[in-house]
C-alpha cells in the first residue's frame, strides 16, 4: 500500500504521471494504453474525437481552435478494480491525472500545451519458492514491482480555416521512466539472518510524436473530426547502474475518426473509432507477450438541455469497446465499458462557458484468456477559461 500526494502546482510543471496503476494489464508488454480524454468524452464512450464544441484533447488537436478565451483543463481519474483468474481475486485501486492542458489564443489561432499519459506499466507480483538450505526447508519470497509510465509533453497550434472547419497540429516528446525491482527474501527455520537479494533496472523513455487533426461541421448537423498520431521509435535508455540493455519500440500510427449529430434539439448522438496496429512491437518485446492490432469504437448520447439550479447540466450515456494491444501469447485482450455522467456549468459569460466540471463514471471489464478484470472508474475534469 502506498501513499502519495500530489501538489497541483507541481503537476503544472511536470508531465502527467499516473500515481498508481489501474489495471493488471499494465503488466503485459508495454502496458495498458491510457486515453487522455476528459470527463465528457469518457461519459459518452468517446475516443476523444468528433465531439462538438471546443476541447483540449491531444487526440483532437483541431478542436482547440474553437476556444475564444485562454483556458485550461485538469483531469483526475480514480479507479477501483478486481482481477480474478482461476478462482483467485485481487483488489486494487489507484488515481491518475492523465491530462493537463492549456490553450491560449494567439496569431489568429490557439496555441496549446498538453501533458498526457500514454501507457501505464505499474504492477507488482509475489511468488513463493521452496528451498533447502543447511538441510532445512525454507521459503523464499520473490517480490517484484514495476513502476513505469509513458507520458508526453506536447505543444501545438490550431486554427480555423473556414467558418466550420479547423485544423490542428501538435508536436511532442515522449517522457517517462520504468523501474523494475525483484527482491528475494529468505526466511530460515534457524537463526540464520539471510540478507535479501535485490535486482533492479531503470530506464528513461524518449522519442517524438506528431498529431494532426481536422474538425468540421457538415450540413449544420454533423460534427466530424479526424486525427492521426505518428511517432518516432520509442527509445528506452538504461541508467548507468542497470545491467539490462537499452530498448527501442516501433510505435504504431494511430488513426481516429469521430462524429456527432443532433438527433433532436438538445439530444446528440456521437460515435468514434480508432485504429492502431501495434503488431510491429512484438519483435521488440523481451517478455514474450504478443502485440496486436487494436480497434476501438464507442457510441454515446448527450442530453444537453438538462439543468440543475438553473445552470446547464448535460447528461451523458455511452458504451465503448477496445482491443488491448498486449496480451499473453495466444490470447486476445479486450475492454468493454458502459459509461454515464453529467456536466455542470459553474460560470458563464453570455454564451461562453467560463468554468465547468464534467464527471463520468464507468463500469468496465477487461478480459484476456482466464483473466478477467472488472473495474469502476471515475473521471473528473475541471475546465476554466478567461483566466
Amino acid at each position: 500500500m502506498r501513499y502519495r500526494a500530489l501538489a497541483l502546482a507541481l503537476a503544472l510543471s511536470a508531465s502527467a504521471q499516473p500515481l498508481a496503476a489501474q489495471s493488471l494489464f499494465g503488466s503485459v508488454g508495454l502496458g495498458l494504453p491510457v486515453d487522455a480524454v476528459d470527463g465528457r468524452a469518457r461519459a459518452l464512450g468517446n475516443l476523444g474525437i468528433g465531439l462538438s464544441g471546443a476541447a483540449l484533447l491531444p487526440s483532437n488537436p483541431a478542436a482547440a481552435a474553437r476556444a475564444v478565451l485562454p483556458n485550461g483543463v485538469l483531469v483526475a481519474q480514480p479507479s477501483w478494480a478486481d482481477a480474478s483468474s482461476g478462482g483467485e481475486t485481487n483488489y486494487f485501486k489507484g488515481t491518475r491525472f492523465p491530462l493537463l492542458a492549456a490553450a491560449y489564443p494567439v496569431f489568429g489561432g490557439v496555441a496549446t500545451i498538453h501533458f498526457t499519459s500514454h501507457l501505464d506499466q505499474d504492477f507488482a507480483g509475489v511468488r513463493e519458492v521452496g528451498l533447502t538450505l543447511g538441510g532445512q526447508p525454507v521459503v523464499a519470497r520473490d517480490s517484484f514491482f514495476q513502476d513505469g509510465t509513458l507520458s508526453s509533453m506536447n505543444v501545438g497550434f490550431a486554427r480555423r480555416i473556414s467558418g466550420e472547419t479547423s485544423v490542428g497540429l501538435t508536436v511532442g516528446r515522449y517522457t517517462g521512466t520504468v523501474d523494475r525491482a525483484l527482491t528475494r527474501t529468505i526466511s530460515g527455520s534457524d537463526s540464520t539472518v539471510v540478507q535479501p537479494y535485490l535486482s533492479t533496472g531503470s530506464w528513461s523513455y524518449s522519442g517524438y510524436l506528431v498529431t494532426a487533426g481536422v474538425a468540421t461541421r457538415l450540413l449544420e448537423l454533423v460534427e466530424v473530426g479526424a486525427s492521426a498520431t505518428w511517432s518516432t521509435e520509442l527509445d528506452a535508455e538504461a541508467s548507468s547502474d542497470t545491467a539490462g540493455g537499452d530498448g527501442s519500440y516501433n510505435l504504431p500510427l494511430q488513426l481516429r475518426l469521430g462524429a456527432s449529430a443532433d438527433l433532436a434539439p438538445g439530444l446528440a448522438l456521437s460515435a468514434s473509432v480508432a485504429r492502431a496496429d501495434w503488431s510491429s512491437v512484438s519483435d521488440d518485446l523481451n517478455s514474450g507477450a504478443e502485440a496486436n492490432g487494436v480497434l476501438a469504437y464507442g457510441v454515446g448520447l448527450e442530453l444537453s438541455q438538462a439543468r440543475v439550479f438553473g445552470r446547464a447540466a448535460p447528461i451523458r450515456l455511452g458504451w465503448r469497446r477496445s482491443d488491448l494491444p498486449f496480451a499473453s501469447a495466444g490470447e486476445d485482450a479486450s475492454e468493454r465499458i458502459f459509461a454515464g455522467g453529467f456536466g455542470l456549468v459553474l460560470a458563464q459569460g453570455g454564451e461562453v462557458v467560463l468554468a465547468n466540471v464534467d464527471l463520468a463514471l464507468e463500469r468496465g471489464r477487461r478480459v484476456a484468456g482466464s483473466l478477467t478484470e472488472n473495474f469502476w472508474r471515475a473521471t473528473l475534469s475541471v475546465k476554466a477559461a478567461g483566466l
Partner: protein, 417 residues
Amino acid sequence: MAAVACQEQSPTALDDSSLPDEPLTLEVELPWSQFGSNLQVLGGYSSAAGLPLPLVTRAYLGALEARTLMRFDTFPPGVRVVVDGVTVTDTDVTYVAAFLSVGFDTVRSVAPGPVALEIGGLQEEWQARSASWSFAIDTVGDQRAWSGGAGATVPTSSSVTWDPAFADSVTFPLDSATIATWIDPADRTRGANMLTTTDGALLVLNRASLRLAIRSSLADSIVEDTIGLLDRTVIYDPPPAAPAGMRVGGVPAWRSLLEVIPPQLVGPPELCAALGCPFTPEAGQISYAAVRLTTQTSEAAYQPFDTLRIDARSVLSPAALPKSPLGNSQTSGLGAAVPPEAFGSAPGVSVELPITTFMRTLLGGPDASGNPPPGTLAVLSASEPSSLPFASFDGPGDPGEPVLRMILTVGTSQVLP
C-alpha cells in the same frame, strides 16, 4: 495551492507468469584452502582489571590458581554527629574496626564443599592494569616482581570459611593494624589479596565492600560507613600454553585473525550451468556468509565454566596489527553463544559466525575514495575481557578446520518488458 492525496494499492499479479525469471539460490561451503590464509593468533588485549567478575581459585581442574587483588576507595574524612542538638562534622575520628564483605555468584562458582578463604594486606606498590602472578607492576620500562614471592604472597590478615549451603557471602573481620595501612589515599601500596586454600574451588565474586566502624571524638557513639573498591584485578597461574589452532577470549584476551580471499567458485553444477565457472560472486549476490568453526577442548586450567560469546570484526588496518582498529561487529555485538562444555567435555561443536556484511564489503571492491576493502577478519570475544577461560577452535589443517558457508542468490539482470 491545492493538494490532492490518494491512497493507492498497486495491482498484484495473480500468478507468476508476468514476473521475471526466478533467481537461483544455492548454498556453497568452501574449505579453508579456498577462502582463508595467514591465520594469526594474537594475545595481550585488555587487562584482568577489566574482568566483569573477579574470581579466586585453587587447583581448579587440577591446575589453575587465581587470586583477586583489591584496593579500596578513599576512607571517609569524618563523620556527622549530633553534639548538644547540633549536627557537626567530626574529622577527628578513629577507625576501630572493619569488615570486608564479599559476595559470590553461586551459579558460576564451583565449591566442592566449605571453602577456606584468606585475605592479607599488600605491602608494596602495585598497579591493577598490569599486575600479574609474577609482577606487581609490569609496564614498559618498569617491571617489579612481587617482593614476597609470586602470587602477591603476603601474611594472612583474616581467614574465613564459606559454606555455600548456608550463605552467598562471607565477612572478613579486619584488625585495626590492617585498617591503618589502608587509610592514606596517596599510599599506592594499599590493597588486599584474597585467595582460597581449598583445592578445586573456583569462586566468582560479584560484590565486595569494606564496612567501617568509626568512633567520633565529639560524641560517645560508633558510626558505620561502607566504601567500595577503587581498583581490582585477578592474578593467576600458570599462564596458558602457546595456542594450537585458534584461540579466542581469556585475559588478557586472545584474538584469531585470518585473511579472507574473495572466493572463486567452481561449483555446484547448477551454478556453473547458469553462470559459468569459475565464478566470483558479486557483493549483492551474497545472501548469507559465515565462518564455521569447530570447537576443541581448551587446556585444562582454562576450560570455560560459563557460556562464551564469540564475535567477528573486520581488521581495518592489518599493517598496524596487533593494534589495528576493528570494524563493526558482524553479530550486532551479541556474538555467537557457545556453551562451556563445547570447550571441555564435548568438543567438536560447530559454531557459525555470520560475516555477511564483511563478505559483501570485500566483494564490493574499493570504496568511493579508492581504499581497498578490509580483507582480514578478527575472531574475538564479544566483550574483552569476559572471562579467564578462553575458547579454542580447530585451525587450518585440523579435522574441523574453518569453513566458509555462503548462501548465494544469482539471477539474470532486469530487462525491459
